[in-house]
């Protein structure tokens, strides 16, 4: 931990030296993070320059919190590191009627999606940003900013939704000075390659893609605003449906953040069991990804159905434990449980899990044989969609996409949560950063997850209550809660601001796929049309979590 305190000291000294009186240290309740109050919003770029020089890797979250009582909007910037658990928090306060701040996108590309989202939903204007527009709301939205506390929900009915698709289907008229062989095509919201519902506007010449602009917002449900009206226990259900392919993982992220805010402790047995569940979910999510990728690359290929068959066995195990196959709501505040009086899982469940895992080890070898050793797979995935090393970090990638580029960054090792520091596992990385490497990383992650589950089944303590339901009086909290986990798709984080009541004041969800999909703008340059399916498939999109 001396690394952490050294880093904190260095950061503090450098920032105070560069900005003098405009910045002051803020006390945070987490010992491994460091916080600052920036008193002059226009100096944000100097702060960012210093942090970049010190080696901070990515801005993982930029949250806007609307505080009408104090007449300010507070922006919270969080910057993480690849080699250590330290996160630098920068708090900036902007006047509510004119919230303007210089954008940090020209210095740091990875901040673009966060800034766009804050403008879209909260109304903070970032100056000198390349392209300030609405992303989840329609492009000509002028009916207020939904996340503000004084926004009237009945305004949403006034927008002419039915005309939207007609207006925005073909937004680009071909400029007259472009040559004849360039055309614009919309890989529209309904397309099997896009796994959900998002739209890519592509400028093409022949079979080559010249430029691509992703367009999100087709599945936007306003989860963050809804959660401001639900109690801490009821929000679990919404986190399930953020990404239904990895729903326990989101349950866990939210539960860790809420337990952080409300100061709730769980037993050791619950922590080990949570690890087992999350690793099972990682395997399930990767099997689904493998099936989807194979289905896209070949017509009705066998590999479309074989991973789903193994996934069924794991889903059966989930059903035996918690009663649902897809949206579990299983990891809750106070442990892991579905009924109040801590119905624990019987020992037979663990034995069945062991059998399924052993069988899965053999099957993974078969999958590698059918895909990785198949020449037709290799020509579709080698040297396609390359994103490697520093470019990947700059662009904001996390998860398997970043690890395929050669960077060993996994939240479970860098900033361990639950009991990951007591478990022995490796982090697979790739070399080149193409689609093949991302496939390899995910397959190896399945094998590593199997290894982790085996260790957890041996080491799980037999005593301890799995679920201790929290009394309602303890479910009120004020302050902040923050947790980040390693979702199968990347680094997921949830930031909660409480105001003392039993409902959160502001909850902000960092979805890894949202950032990963903005990479498409870079990955699809000079690619062929047929590579679209491979590249999007390799980023593993799950649109429900992108749009929240």
């Amino acid at each position: 931990m001396s690394n952490v305190s050294n880093l904190k000291e260095t950061t503090k000294q450098e920032l105070i030296r560069a900005l003098g009186k405009d910045i002051e240290v803020r006390e945070l309740k987490w010992p491994r993070y460091i916080g600052f109050n920036l008193l002059d919003p226009t100096k944000i770029r100097e702060v960012v320059k210093v942090l970049k020089k010190l080696g901070y890797a990515q801005p993982i979250l930029i949250t806007g919190v609307d505080k009408p009582k104090e007449n300010i909007i507070e922006l919270v910037y969080k910057f993480n590191r690849i080699d250590s658990a330290v996160i630098s928090w920068i708090y900036v306060q902007l006047p509510r009627d004119n919230p303007k701040i210089p954008s940090i996108t020209p210095l740091w590309k990875a901040a673009f999606p966060h800034e766009i989202e804050t403008y879209d939903l909260m109304g903070v204007i970032f100056e000198e940003i390349p392209d300030l527009r609405h992303v989840f709301l329609p492009w000509d939205w002028n009916l207020g900013f939904p996340l503000r506390k004084d926004w009237d929900p009945s305004l949403a009915k006034k927008y002419p939704w039915w005309e939207m698709t007609r207006k925005f289907y073909d937004p680009f008229t071909i400029p007259s000075d472009e040559s004849d062989d360039i055309y614009y095509i919309s890989v529209g919201p309904q397309h099997p390659a896009v796994h959900g519902s998002f739209r890519l506007i592509m400028k093409m010449r022949g079979d080559t893609i010249l430029e691509a602009w992703p367009d999100f917002g087709w599945v936007h449900r306003g989860v963050e605003k809804i959660c401001e009206n639900k109690t801490y226990e009821q929000i679990i259900v919404y986190t399930d449906r953020l990404c239904y392919g990895s729903s326990i993982s989101w349950n866990l992220t939210y539960t860790l953040a809420a337990e952080d805010l409300l100061n709730i402790e769980v037993s050791e047995r619950a922590k080990w069991f949570r690890v087992i569940l999350v690793e099972m979910q990682r395997i399930v999510s990767h099997l689904l990804w493998l099936a989807a990728l194979s289905g896209d690359l070949g017509t009705f290929h066998s590999m479309f159905l074989y991973p789903l068959r193994e996934r069924e066995k794991l889903l059966d195990l989930f059903e035996k434990a918690c009663g649902a196959r897809l949206t579990y709501s299983y990891i809750k505040l106070g442990g892991v449980g579905i009924l109040k009086h801590a119905e624990d899982v019987p020992d037979t469940w663990f034995n069945e899990l062991k059998d399924v895992i052993q069988d899965l080890k053999k099957k993974v070898k078969e999958y590698i044989d059918m895909t990785g050793n198949s020449e037709t797979f290799l020509i579709r995935t080698k040297n396609i969609g390359i994103l490697r090393g520093k470019a990947a970090i700059e662009a904001g990638a996390t998860g398997p996409v970043l690890r395929a580029g050669g960077i060993k960054y996994d939240v479970r090792k860098v900033d361990p949560y639950l009991v990951y520091d007591q478990i022995d596992f490796e982090i697979p990385t790739g070399k080149v950063g193409d689609v093949y490497d991302r496939w390899l990383v995910r397959i190896n992650e399945i094998i590593q997850s199997i290894h982790i589950i085996e260790q957890a089944i041996e080491n799980i303590p037999k005593e301890g209550k799995l679920y201790q339901k929290v009394p309602p009086a303890k479910l009120r909290g004020s302050g902040e809660g923050f947790a980040r986990t390693e979702d199968p798709r990347g680094e997921a984080a949830i930031y909660i601001v409480g105001d003392g009541s039993n409902k959160p004041y502001r909850i902000h969800i960092r979805s890894p796929t949202y950032i990963n999909l903005t990479l498409l703008h870079f990955l699809l340059r000079k690619a062929k049309f047929a590579d679209l399916a491979a590249i999007i498939g390799s980023l593993d999109p799950c649109m429900a979590e992108v749009d929240r």
Partner: protein, 198 residues
């Protein structure tokens, strides 16, 4: 290719459901104490309470006689209500098939008598109008309708409840209550037929 296929030939073979399956709800009518915790726990506002016949809803002493009615159309089967119940009266059954396929949204809203597990409390409503008579005390019909119908159904509900209070206070006779309530219920039934199943 040589082993038995993985497919489960539903509906010829039944789908195997495990013990803890969060299916349709069942209610132990006699164990329920009408505390109100299940409604507070529901994230989707699917639960509301019904008093038995001839019981005055305005009297605070009658709170323990009320029983939950659940709208299975909006329910997400998350299990938070079952978890909140202090007497374990509300529980999940392994049922996953909703009984009737029909055009009316009404079949998806259950009354506590239909959910009840005890034989002497269990009652199946063959007439939709009878079921509506039980459900008019709740706001589930208005919430199931949604959209423009919600305000209409809320106003009808207010009228019906005023009539109900009059009947309990004995300001009007049984036949008059029956006739006027039936008029309102028929309008509600027509509205519910308009709304298609989700």
């Amino acid at each position: 290719m040589t082993t038995k296929p993985f497919t489960v030939m539903y509906p010829k073979e039944p789908a195997v459901v495990k013990d803890r399956w969060r299916g349709l709800h069942g209610l132990f009518y006699n164990k329920c104490i009408g505390c109100g915790l299940c409604e507070m726990a529901c994230p989707n506002d699917c639960i509301d309470y019904i008093y038995p016949e001839d019981v005055d809803p305005r009297d605070k002493k009658n709170l323990k006689l009320r029983r939950p009615a659940i709208d299975w159309g909006h329910c997400i089967f998350c299990g938070l209500c079952v978890e909140a119940c202090p007497t374990k009266a509300l529980h999940h059954t392994p049922r996953y098939q909703i009984q009737a396929f029909s055009d009316s949204r009404l079949d998806l809203i259950t009354t506590p008598e239909e959910m009840a597990d005890e034989e002497d409390r269990k009652k199946i409503y063959h007439s939709s109008l009878d079921k509506i008579r039980r459900l008019m005390q709740t706001d589930l019909l208005a919430m199931a309708a949604g959209g423009e119908w919600e305000e209409v159904l809320n106003k009808l509900r207010e009228k019906w409840i005023a009539l109900y209070y009059d009947k309990i206070d004995e300001k009007i006779s049984e036949e008059e209550w029956n006739k006027k309530a039936r008029e309102i219920e028929e309008i509600v039934y027509k509205i519910m037929l308009q709304i298609s199943l989700p």
